[in-house]
Symmetry: D3
Subunit: 336 residues, 6 copies
């Protein structure tokens, strides 16, 4: 069983025969009508998920293979009631370390190190030295940085892929930066660019502890019991404690922007936004996640005609744009 070309899940078509490697999301052993054991599997890579059934060696595989293992598979594609399914002809577990996990988990189209560098550059321009140091210490914290580079922004819905948190946070910061410039021309320095940017960086940062995201995304124990609002505040407490004379009022305001960023109590914020900056961080977070959700949905829609299927989150179909959304993946901060 040798692989010349290993297709991705989104490339598998009806009747295609192929060999490939996938992450095991679900594995169950059943008995068919004739008493033969077979495996029901859900396999995934970064392009999607697919069901699979295996008869040969099912019992042995069931003992060897567990959820989150990598499985090498030879098979062909059947379509049943519009759903594709792999009929497995041969399968074997791939030893840990023998593969790059990147292939199996969806991730941002951007280079996360470039996103991180852009973020550091942006926060180097803050005026308030304490706000600047809080941001840079956090971005470069040896414990936090690897998580910041890899965390998704959510389990599902928006930016739900590796690096999605950083992609989303940078986009939010850039929109806030632009709003700061815009409204300072109207209302003067009552609009604080420093607070807006700090709010953009920290609003979702608790998600690096709320979610476990090595192979698929799950809530951690502290994520489920405490949540990313409070986990973000705890991070601010920890990092700011390292900065001598860090102003109490700045710390409270940053924590307030984190706690208030869902905008309403019923969306999980224990505090309503009590400052213009807290409100804008909430609104831009909301706007950026909706843009990403809608364009991802519209881009993936396969329905013919001018309308997409009904989006379950928005409870409506969308009118398709004339030009299909792309995910450009060049650093969006740079023109051209």
């Amino acid at each position: 069983m040798s692989t010349v070309y290993s297709p991705f899940v989104n490339e598998l078509k009806e009747k295609m025969e192929f060999e490939g490697a996938f992450l095991v999301k679900v594995i169950q052993l059943h008995m068919d009508k004739n008493g033969r054991p077979y495996l029901n599997l859900i396999l995934m890579d970064r392009t999607g998920e697919i069901e699979a059934r295996a008869w040969d060696g099912a019992s042995k595989l069931a003992e060897e293979v567990k959820t989150q293992d990598i499985l090498k598979v030879a098979g062909k594609i059947n379509v049943y009631q519009g759903r594709r399914q792999i009929v497995v002809e041969a399968a074997a577990k791939v030893p840990a370390g023998a593969v790059q996990l990147d292939r199996f988990v969806p991730s941002t189209v951007y280079d996360v190190n470039r996103l991180h560098a852009d973020m550091v550059a942006l926060f180097s321009t803050l005026e308030d030295p304490f706000a600047k140091e809080l941001a840079l210490l956090t971005l470069n914290d040896p414990e936090a940085k690897p998580r910041i580079l890899r965390a998704p922004a959510a389990k599902t819905v928006h930016h739900a892929y590796a690096g999605g948190l950083l992609e989303h946070s940078l986009s939010v910061c850039r929109v806030l930066d632009s709003l700061a410039g815009h409204y300072r021309r109207y209302y003067g320095k009552a609009v604080s660019r420093d607070l807006l940017l700090i709010g953009g960086l920290f609003h979702d940062i608790g998600k690096i502890y709320e979610l476990a995201f090595e192979r698929g995304t799950e809530y951690t124990m502290e994520g489920q019991l405490i949540g990313h609002h409070v986990l973000g505040c705890e991070l601010v407490d920890r990092i700011s404690a390292r900065i001598p004379n860090f102003p109490e009022e700045l710390k409270l305001h940053v924590k307030h922007m984190i706690l208030a960023h869902h905008g309403k109590l019923e969306y999980g914020s224990p505090k309503l936004p009590h400052s213009l900056e807290a409100l804008l961080v909430h609104m831009v977070d909301d706007l950026d996640s909706k843009v990403n959700t809608i364009l991802g949905f519209v881009g993936a829609d396969t329905q013919s005609g001018p309308w997409t299927a009904t989006n379950r989150l928005f409870e409506r179909p969308f009118l398709k744009p004339k030009v299909k959304p792309e995910f450009l993946g060049k650093s969006p901060g740079v023109e051209g």
Copy 2:
């Protein structure tokens, strides 16, 4: 009774004696305990409102003076339970035409002709020739233009002053323009700058017919019965009918963005936003009005300490910014 200096309402202080002219908002004749007739008035100019009482010549004034007349007043200021009141010593009606109405109605700090010119310049950059012509014909329509220059954006709440609609619409368009640039770097031309800008211009344009705003702001009959969503659509129908071969689909999309710009049915939109552009127009409209409302409220707050009084619309107090909001009044599109 000659006026050396005529103070504005917001300049009237306890015990001050003065002469000045004001717009009559309310006028009522009463009898005091001793059977003497007196007038209860609410007077206003563009800086605010104040109560007034007049005994001398009350009956005669009651016959001559009506709501929305201009009244010249000599008097002094009393404060009762924290509320200022004019004790009128002499008063006389000012003939129509003898005064500039601008003094009596609050208005934008910007030069509305400059705002209009900025708007025209912005829409001259559209790519789609039909969208561009629809915008420019509307902005320069001889019937609509005077109303566009003068309409407030609302009866109360946000940009509730002469020229407020134009100030608000231009600000919304600029933010949308900036978002178009931002998200096109992420997702390509699926995000339509032309549609976003057209949506920004037309979303509230029905307000030029929904509101009557010569001397104070009231709903018109069509405003109350039909509302600015539908009145805006009718304007689009009228203007686009003058443009040969105007594409039906573009007209539907513009009308859709108008109808959907309140974002939810329960806020008066008969349609939910069904395109990314309709959603963004709604979100930026919401954001821009909230920024204006909050900074106006924070700027006017007189409470001591770090918190404002409770804002009734937002049902919360706001943390005051370190720098008090100004209303700069230079064209915000120009740096410096």
Copy 3:
């Protein structure tokens, strides 16, 4: 393949062998376990829908037959888990024009020309000449009349069949007429019969443009983006423009009744009812659609015992009446 008797969908019973013609609602080509292609279909006529599977000639049929075509079928009925299914033995497309579409789309039990004549007679009794002319011009408008004769009142739920809009509107008008008589005896001419009837005729008229209803009912582009409230107002604008000196206030009131007829903002009305007549039009529209929905549901229920199954719209079962609902189909305006 010759048809002696062609049964309707609601006449197909387990094991029955038959020949018949149906409208194709869904058609999909699949491959079975043995690699044989087969068709999954949903077929319909005016009495209901049924699934079908075809093996013989599946690939060829898949190329020739499309959604909304008419298909002649020979087959027999299987029941699987309580659901009937046609096992197709032979099938052929019927040429366009060779069949009466009436057989395939559910429609009102009434003669629509009779309903139309009744409507015209009713509106000939209006007192206000402008209101009367608006109604009669609309009912007889060469572009609108064919649509008025054929439109359903909704895609699903109430009066969701050809002619349903006219049946519903006439019933609403008659109830409003009766209420006008009743309440004028209590409160005098403050209750306007003319306005009530005009409201009854026009409240849903935008549906003739909101829905496409030739073969099944779908939303049109303007239906989805603009909706029948605003489309109805546009019709009133168009027709009233043909009537010299049509009073502005009457036009506003008619458009207001259309916009307000869903009664609440969250049900899609951009305006609350601001007159007694607008409120009554809303309430009677609601009442008439509920009566039709419930009696249709109760009449179709097959559950044994005194209760129907749970109705999904009303979220409750209904107590069955002692007498089963009939759909009489004689002109309900005439006794006997």
Copy 4:
């Protein structure tokens, strides 16, 4: 102190001097700045309420006069901040029995005995002998009948005057009768006229025990703790127990229509309507009370221009009808 003409509350104008008799709604003794005792009163008759102040003999009156007594008053009318007030010059309590209470409590414009006779005539036409007997026994029950003749339909809002319950119930029954005729022409005998009429008669009947209405309307102890839904069911149990072989199912359905007549749980109905008749009784009850509320409000409105003031219940102003509502007071069942 002799009265030539005794004006009603709604006839009292500024500066008018008069003598008259009123029901005491509120009476409180206070001390003024100079230590003189005075009385604050609210006085009423069937046309409205008015404040009053009395200095002479205040202490003595305070001892003699209680809430719900009748007070003879000589005085004149002052207006303060737009509110009329009686300045009492002399006052004396009127002995119980010396006056007709009708003068002091608002009541229906109809002859309640005529309304009752119309109701009896209507229910004599029922087909089902048990339903007919239940209705007629109730209408003529020696304990219930005097309460039925006098009860208001509510403490405030709709038909809130003596005889209002009977006026409202008869109007509801007539509308239901008309709907029964209408929909039986469409759907046959599945629509039960008997049930609709019985529902119309009994839906609010518990109010004869929920409210105490001799001199003003208050909740009784059982009204407050149990409510008119359950009190109505108890009445049905009591009366039906006197009818041999009364069918259990009919009794359950009548009680169900009573319990469900507010239409939704959150409006105080412990059951949703589970039959067409229960739903129609709810809808017509709602419709009839709204018509009465709106026309009463519009008729009493004093604001100039085409709009009424904002109605607090409906949270909106109403467009005034061209003809002002009258309360005709002839038996509405009879033409001419």
Copy 5:
């Protein structure tokens, strides 16, 4: 076909062969692809439900066996897509009376006669003689007692098993007794122990008539149309009528506590709690049913790891306790 050991539903494992007896919950005759008739069944006993399929003698069984019959079955267990299914090899109906129904309906782990005796003992301690007699007469009423011993507390959700109503009511009474003691130490005799206990006993008692529970639980006609709130009040009326001089006010308060025990109108209470006791009865009812629901759900959960599956009623997963819930079944009133 003889049974050595008859397993319960919750003991049936994949591939197991067995004989046993079950209650028939659903029975349907179908035809397979080859035209062979077979039965689809849902069988149950007090430990759960399971699907079954039978081919041999299917037609004959379909004629003989009905819902709620007891069926003796020989078969084996298949697992398909994680769901167990009985493949029936032989089956025969068991004559009525030949079996103890207890085996087939889930029931409380307590001895219901012991629960009843505890209840009687508790109410013998009431101070108010009328309250005490009302309770004891009800508990020992020959018509009500057998229903009280057997009724479940609900069709699904909490204490949904035979005797569940009595188990729940006693637990509620005990918690209320403990709260009475607690708060009387704080606030004195303003907290009435008698009322609290009476409220605990009667709040749900209408369920003995709302539900039919011989073989499975269904709503009765009066349950569906009237509901247990009103049915409970009717019981109080009937029993209290037997007690001479029963105080009207006590009767109203007991009925009020019954009507108000769901706490909010939208949960089906036609009255809000208007006394401390009515509120506490509601809150403890709510608390006791939630404890039972959650511990039953947690105890039955089979998911690995620290979290249960998502509970549909609470819309969340629960953190599992360190010790798994038991259902002890000894009389909880007795220590040790």
Copy 6:
């Protein structure tokens, strides 16, 4: 000016002349019609608040006296429109330290040291050594203890007096202890007494930092921006950090119970209760505050008849208990 007897606010009656000392809640200088300056004050002590007016020396007092100062006053009581008012004859500021603040702020009827000792005794019985140490370290923490002894449980509504937090928390713990005993007899050790008690102690503890309560109760900056949920978690982090090997999971569960104790997101909890203990802590917190609120309200009600006035929080009147609520003030843990 010497004081023989100094009455409390709730002892001041119409026309009474007195001398006494009060806390200044509001102080404002105004000018009367004749140009004389006078002071408007709101004065308070622990029994209530009262308005006051002072003419003599008003300007001088206005300079010397500030909010939260203690003022010695000689005056007499006037009643105007049912409201008492002090007419001040002489007044002087009392030097800080010259008075016991206890007289001026309402406080619990219990000895707070006794409440604290009871709390310590209760938590000494915990089984889990870490939970026990966390509780005892917190109760005896030198920084926290003085705040725990003095904090109210809320700014208004329930237990809104000094020591109210401790009184409330102890009562909640006792009810939870009793529920633990009760339900462990039903369901075994799945119900954790240790967790319930820890939840009862810590659920509101963040209020010692959320509120400032030296002279009246106000929100602190961290209270307003962060809130007592998160402030409580931070306290748990600080104290548990002092305990070696404190289990992470226990810490998470305690913080979870704090965050979830408002029960719903819309009530300010960022997490729903995800364990039985978290839910019970929420429910008992709710129950105990409602009992205190209602009995305080009923005890203070002055309306005649069986009903209280309408309670604004509960939006209803309450039926008065036969025995008026007392606030006993002996340690409620001890019988007799």
